[in-house]
Every structure is written in C-alpha cells, then in structure tokens.
Amino acid sequence: MSQALDEIKIGGLGASRKRVEDNRFLRGKGNYVDDIVLPGMLHMEILRSPLAHARIRSVDASKAWDIPGVRLVLTGEMMATRNLAWMPTLSYDTQAVLATDKVRFQGQEVACVIADDPYIAKDACEAIVVDYEPLPVIVNPTQAMAEGAPLIRDDKENQHDNVVYDWEVGDKAGTDAAFARADRVSSLELHYPRSHPSPLECCGSIADFDRSTSKLTVYMTTQAPHIIRAAVSMVAELPEHMIRIVSPDLGGGFGNKVPVYPGYVASILASILLERPVKWIEDKSGNLISTGFGRDVYLQGELALRNDGKILAVRMHTDADHGAFFSDAQPSKFKIGLMHSAFACYDIPYAHLTARGMYTNKAPGGVAYRCSLRVTEAMYFQERMVQAAADDLGIDQAEFRRLNFVRDDDFPHRTPFGFLTDSGQYGKCLDVGLQAVGYENFLKQKEEAKKRGRLLGIGISTMTEPLGAGNSREYDILGIKMFDSAELRVHMSGKAILRTGAKTQGQGHETTWAQIVSHELGIPAEDIVVEEGDTDTAPFGMGTYASRSTPVAGAAVAMVSRKIRAKARKLAAHLLEVSEEDVEWELGRFYVRSARDRGVTIQECAMAAYSNMPDGMEPGLENNAYYDPPNLTWPFACYIVTVEVDPQTGVWDVLNVVAVDDCGVRINPMIVEGQIMGGLTEAYAMASMQFITFDAEGNCVGSNYMDYLLPTAWETPGFELHEVVTPCPHHPIGAKGVGECATVGGPAAFVNAVMDALKGTGVRNIDMPLLADRVYEALTLRHDVSGAPPVKTDDA
C-alpha cells in the first residue's frame, strides 16, 4: 500500500527518460517558424550589400515597386524617417537596421521587399539598384589599428579610431613581479578563428500587428524571448504588454539566435505599415554572412614558470575582432565576456589580462557560440599555453597539469582573476581519462611509431568553466539581471503544467524539467507538460544560452516544486487530521510520522487544494519561483584525443576521443551524453575544418555550406564518454551546466594532439582549423602557420 515510489520508474532525477518532444519531431510535426502560416501573410526578403565597405550614393527601388505582387519596399531612408534606421545592440552600441550612409560589411542589410510570395520578393530585391562608392576595407585588428586606417564607425560622434574598448582585469603589479622572479617564461601567440554557430535552421520571424487590438505578435527564432520583448518595446516604442513574442520549435541555436537582427525589426515595421502578417525566413548565406558569429580573437599569452613545473603567473593580451558593430551578447560588466575565467582550474597566484576590441568590415556578432561568453576562447588559450609550457619545461603534459591543479580540499578557491570555484575532483577526472585512453601505452606506441616514420600524437585538455550566469550582483544584460524563473500549476488530478523563462532549442527541456518536478514531488514525469517560449504565458526569464538553463531555470523548477510541496504539506496535514509538524514526506506521499501507513499522495493533496482545503487556505495549487543563483556552476572536463598525422600530406586522423565530464548530478544521463557528443563534434569541427575567413576585399569565405565545412557522419570520430560526479554545492539538485563543455574544452585536445605529433619540429603553433595544407606547411617548412585573414590568394 505505502510502497515507496521508484524514482527512476516515474521518470525522476537520473532516469534516461526518452524524450517527449521526439513524438512530434519524428513525425515531421514539429512547429518551426517557417511552418507557421497566418491568414493573409506576406513574405519579406532582404537585399544585402555585396561590398564590405562602401558609401551608398543612392538606392533606386522604383523597378522593384513595379513588379506585380510587391506590397512594400523598405530602404534605410524610409527606416530613418521612423527613427528605425539604427537600433541598440546588447553591448550598448548601435547597429544599422537598413544601411543609410555606408555599408560596413559584406552582407549588410540594405533594403527589404515585402511581396505576395517569397519568389516575387527575391525577384524584386534583384530589381533594386544601389550605387556604391567602394571604400578601403579592414579585415583584422592589425589593419584596424594601422596609421591612417579608414574610420569604420564615422556615424558615432566621439569615435575617432576603430577601437571598441580597452579593458583589463587582474593584478598587474603582482603578475609583473612574479614574471620577474620566474625561472623561465613560456609564450604563445595564436588566433582563434571566426566561426559561425550555424544551426541548420536559419533565423526568421513572422510579425503580426493587429490594428484592432494594437497588439503585436511576433513568432520568431529566439533563444531569449523575454529579452527580445524588452528590446522590441524599446526599439519599436510599443508598450510591453502589447507585444507577444513566441519562440516556437527551434532548429538549433548555439547562441546564433540570441541577438536582435535587422530582419526581425524590418518584418515588424512592415507588418505595422501593411497591417498584415509578414514572414521573413533567412537563407543560409544570409545567416552565415550577417548573423552572430563566434570567436575571432588573437592571443598573446605568457606563463611565468618555475623549473619544477609550478606556474607562478599568467599574462594574457587579447585583440578581438568585433566586426562593424559591437553586438556581443554578454553581461554588461565584461567587455570580452568571461575571458578571465581562463586558468580557473589551476592554482596560480597572479594573473593579468588586457583586452582590446576592434571594429572591422566584417559581420557583427561575437555571440556565445555554444559558449558561456568567450569561455571557449579562454579555455582554448589556456590549454594551448599549458601544453606549450609543459613542452618548454620538458615535463609530461599530464603531470604538468596535475602539478598545477587546484586540489580537491582547496575549495572554495579564488581563481587568479577573481572567480570563486566551489567544487571539483580534477585529478580524478584526469586519472579516469588517462586510464581510458591507455596513456602510458600510447606514449610507448608513439615512440615505436616514430622509429618507423609515423607521427602519432596525444592531446589533453582539462578545464573548469563558469556556467549559469548570473548571479544578479554581477551579471545583467542591458541592466536586466540574469536570474531565471519557473511557474508550476498542479491541476486537481495531480497532473501539471510547468512553464519556465528558458527556451529549449534541442536540449530537451520538455523532458528534463518534468524530471526535476518528478524528483521534488513524486508526480510521474509523463503527467507534467512543459511549455516555454511564449512571453504571454511564460514567466520572465533570460532564455537559454551559455549553458545557463539547468543552473538557473532548472534550479527555479526545483524551487517552485518545493513551494508546491510546502503547500501540499498543509493540505496533507488537513486530510490526515494531524498537525503539520507530524507530517513526513517521502517521494510522492506525505504520511503521519508515528503511523507510516497513514498517508496521502501528492495527487490527493492536489485534489484537496481544489475541493477540500482547510478553512482560511487560499484554494489552488500553483506557484512560481524566480531564482537568482548564488554563484556560477563550475563543471570540470578532461578531454583526451589521439591522432596520427600523415607526414606526406598533412592529413590527420583521429584515433581515439575520450571525454570525462563532471557536470555534477545528471538529470537525464542520456540527454547529457547527447549534449557532450554534440559538443565534441563542434570541437572537432573547429579544430579540423569549420571557420569563416575573408579575403583582402572583405569577401566572406564561408558564406555557404560548400565553403563553410561542417563535419558529416563520415568524418566525425566516435567518442568514448566517462563521468565523475561532484555535486554543485549551491544548486538545489546539485547539477551544473554541461551543454557547451565539450565545445569549450574540446578544440584544444584535438590541436594539442596534432601539435604533440609535431613535437621536435620547432613548430609552436598552427592556427585552427588544422587544415592539411597548414599542417603540411608547418611540417615541411618548420614554422608556425597563422590562419589570420585576409586569406592568401594566388596572386598575393
């Protein structure tokens, strides 16, 4: 009768529950933005600039207006009359919606056509004549800083150069002193290339302004619907309660769907002007050349070392290429995201980081591409510097890491840049990884192979990264604090609906959030429906990116469940006719402490909340929770990759990939492992082939999937996953973020492996991606290979 519930069976914490969202996706019944059709809907296309930097002499749209089926042509000039030619970015800069004065990158939005169907709209875009006066082009920070460089942001009053910011963090004096007493200094210069998150589904929106109600509904591809509502309210000067943002199923996001894009704004204005729904669906080239990129940061890094292997201090300087507008999606306080989370897993007393941002004639963005805000660059720089230092000292790379790790009994630990890490078993993770890959054995194999002219290499990357912004003291976007939320309504039958301020893009929130409720209340997961993405129904939240959902929204789900349980306890006491103090909880059931068999289920409490509540109690069983995390969560990971490099061609093959992830308590192990494998694939992609570059004229190389290479099932290696569990001490269920760990920590493991294979050649660095020609060049000419744009052309 009173047998305890089996939590795994009801789909609670730790169950590899099959995903509920799959039921519609598998049948082709997902509801992505392009699947939505509204009555009377028109279609919008964007005309983009073919040039990277040019003054606009004139825009002649008369031929476009003449095409039957064209309803509206929007130009920068028209936007300007409505004060909409420019919009604010998430980093306190401005960005052109439609260009008025100049175009500042190839692919920039110049005009929009709204027509009866998308084919007509595309035809009409081609009929618009724009007269450009080409200007000199800047495609890297060095050019941006050069004497006499053209001023990209001549629209800004006090902007006299191409510098976006100069920023620093850390202890300069302490760091300088530590370098002065170091036995040796290991230095490294490299470039983390520009990359694009490139979800398969591009961006899009359907704006639907209803004159009769004054309400604007926008269905759009956004990872952060509430931030968008705030931004739209600001930009379009509409009252917040008259704006409804609906983010339907998203075909991936990876940070690309956080910012506000000109296409969204233009479709909104078009709908207001035409009083009809206007759909804009971006094509792949539009997505790749104009929307939020990731990375594009140059590093000069130095480690002060003692001969026994101890790292005394870190010095880093980064130059970031932000493109034409500073539109990074990141906490306001930090100019280069959380770059200063570098070296958090190592016990280093002093560190100093200087960071400079530059405008260039490239697309704006700097989004957190599967990354907690520049953490990907931070960890890549860290692990490349660590390997170079180990090699410089002649110390085994695994041993060098172990020597400098923060020890298990050292938590909480203040990192050299001031973060507070709170938990981890770094040494244990490394041990698990080394054992899984057969480290000692591989080193022997490597020596053997070398004798026969074969080049084997092993690369390690270990890191802890800050996931789950914020706390609200330090983290905000445009002044809005980075908390998150959940609202739970338990119906009288004990079934429930949960809504959160996060927004799933494939992470499986509909499955996992229900598991947290199940864990807290004992309601079977299948009895809980999860909804996200509609600002009219979901509680206010900051959305899903930077692996913050489980640390923040997931915590809110646990907290709201606990509020529900607290009320249910009162109902139970009433039903059991005992005082609340005499009521005990076990999963799914309250019982009388002195008589365990006398109990009521959570479902019976739910029924009582609507049909038999005690006198004076407010009816119903629903609540909400806003969760402001006390700290970030700090997952740790150890990735180890082995490769063989072909000295004849520079081609390298992955032999083995071992991943050891400690993301604390795993809500749904199946989904966690899926996230890790997806992340490893993006790491492999960036290390091997995936990047965006530019020629000297600012033409984007990587503007479609024929140039922008993404690995297929054929190239992608297999992965071997292991886990260590160190619960997060401050998260209600002990979980940490995980979605991006492998993308953040993974690339260095691949690159370190190739560099290890090249050890002894004098080559310190090859920039990602490690294309065969770059590896071949390094091997044969024995020098470092830079990947910085502009790309070499045949006549250069």
């Binding site: 969202e21 799959d22 049948r27 392009d34 979800p199 398969l200 991936g252 494998m677 024929m706 054929w714």
Partner: protein, 181 residues
C-alpha cells in the same frame, strides 16, 4: 485536395505560364499548378502543407529537405516540382502509420538520435533508402550513407546507433517475409 474556391491573383506569377503536375505523395495522388521554377521542397511545404520537409541550406549540402523520389533520396530544395511530375514522393509524414512509428523512427527515439529535430526527417528518409537496399549495414556503411545529411546537435554517433537499431528491428520481419514468399 478539395477547396471550395481559390483566390486567383490578377496577374499570376508575373506572366510566367504554370505547369500542371501530378505527384504521388505518400501514396496519395496530388495535382498542382506550379511555376516551372518552383522547388519541390516549397511545393511540399507550402502547397501540400507537408512541413516535415525542412529547408536548411539551399545548396544541396545539408540534406534537411531530403525526400524519397521513387525510393531514392533526393534533396527537394534543389529539385524542381516539375521534375517530380509523374513520380512517387515520400516525405517524413509518410513514414509512420496512423498508430505506429516506423522502426527507424522508433530507433531514433530509443537511441536519442535527435535533439532539435530539424535534420531528423531527412536523416530518417536517407536511412530508409539505405535499409531498403542493405538491411544489415555496418557502422561505416551507415556513416557513408548519411554523409549527405548534416546534423549540428548530435555528433552523429547516436544517429548511427539509431539506424543500426532499426536495421536489427526490421531484419527479422524482412527474413520472415522472405521465408513466407
């Protein structure tokens, strides 16, 4: 498809003549009048309201729009609707019966072969063509067969497992059919 009336644009398609096409979609004969330049993906999605076929890249690379044309995988974003005239097209909506998932769909669910779901229809149809031809593929054969379809979420390992799961599930049935014939 029966409609009581349809609004005709005063100047249809900028004067471009339309062509009538007859396509058997998921076993059902469908007739449409299309501009010659209309892509098959768009006819399926906008004309026939079969939105399970997704368009991802427009350049035949990503495979999200993969459908089966006479049983052969085709990227419907680079095939004209008129090219499908007289042919049989299968979309993801044709995989499951009303009550039961196809074993490939079951495999994807069981092995967590999808995350955002955008590539999934194309992946499953490519997998179906593979298993129709080769009921017992190796892992490498599955990886090669799927190499025209991109996935940004899963890292492929679980997709490969999903297809192998389906192959195993479908084999006894295939064997039984053969025994019976």
């Amino acid at each position: 498809m029966t409609t009581l009336y349809e609004e005709i644009r005063p100047e249809p398609h900028g004067g471009i003549p339309v062509r009538r096409v007859t396509i058997t979609v998921n076993g059902e004969k469908r007739v449409a009048e299309v501009e010659p330049r209309l892509l098959l993906a768009h006819l399926l999605r906008q004309g026939f309201k079969l939105t399970g076929t997704h368009t991802g890249c427009d350049t035949t690379n990503c495979g999200a729009c993969t459908v089966l044309v006479d049983g052969v995988p085709a990227k419907s974003c680079t095939m004209l609707a008129v090219q499908a005239d007289g042919h049989e097209v299968m979309t993801v909506e044709g995989l499951a019966s009303a009550s039961e998932l196809h074993p490939i769909q079951e495999g994807f669910k069981d092995e967590h072969g999808l995350q955002c779901g955008f590539c999934t229809p194309g992946m499953m149809l490519t997998a179906k063509a593979l298993l129709d031809e080769n009921p017992d593929p190796t892992e490498d054969e599955v990886r090669w067969a799927l190499s025209g379809n991109l996935c940004r979420c899963t890292g492929y390992q679980n997709i490969v497992k999903s297809v192998l799961w389906a192959a195993a599930k479908m084999r006894p049935a295939a064997a039984a059919d053969q025994d019976g014939s």
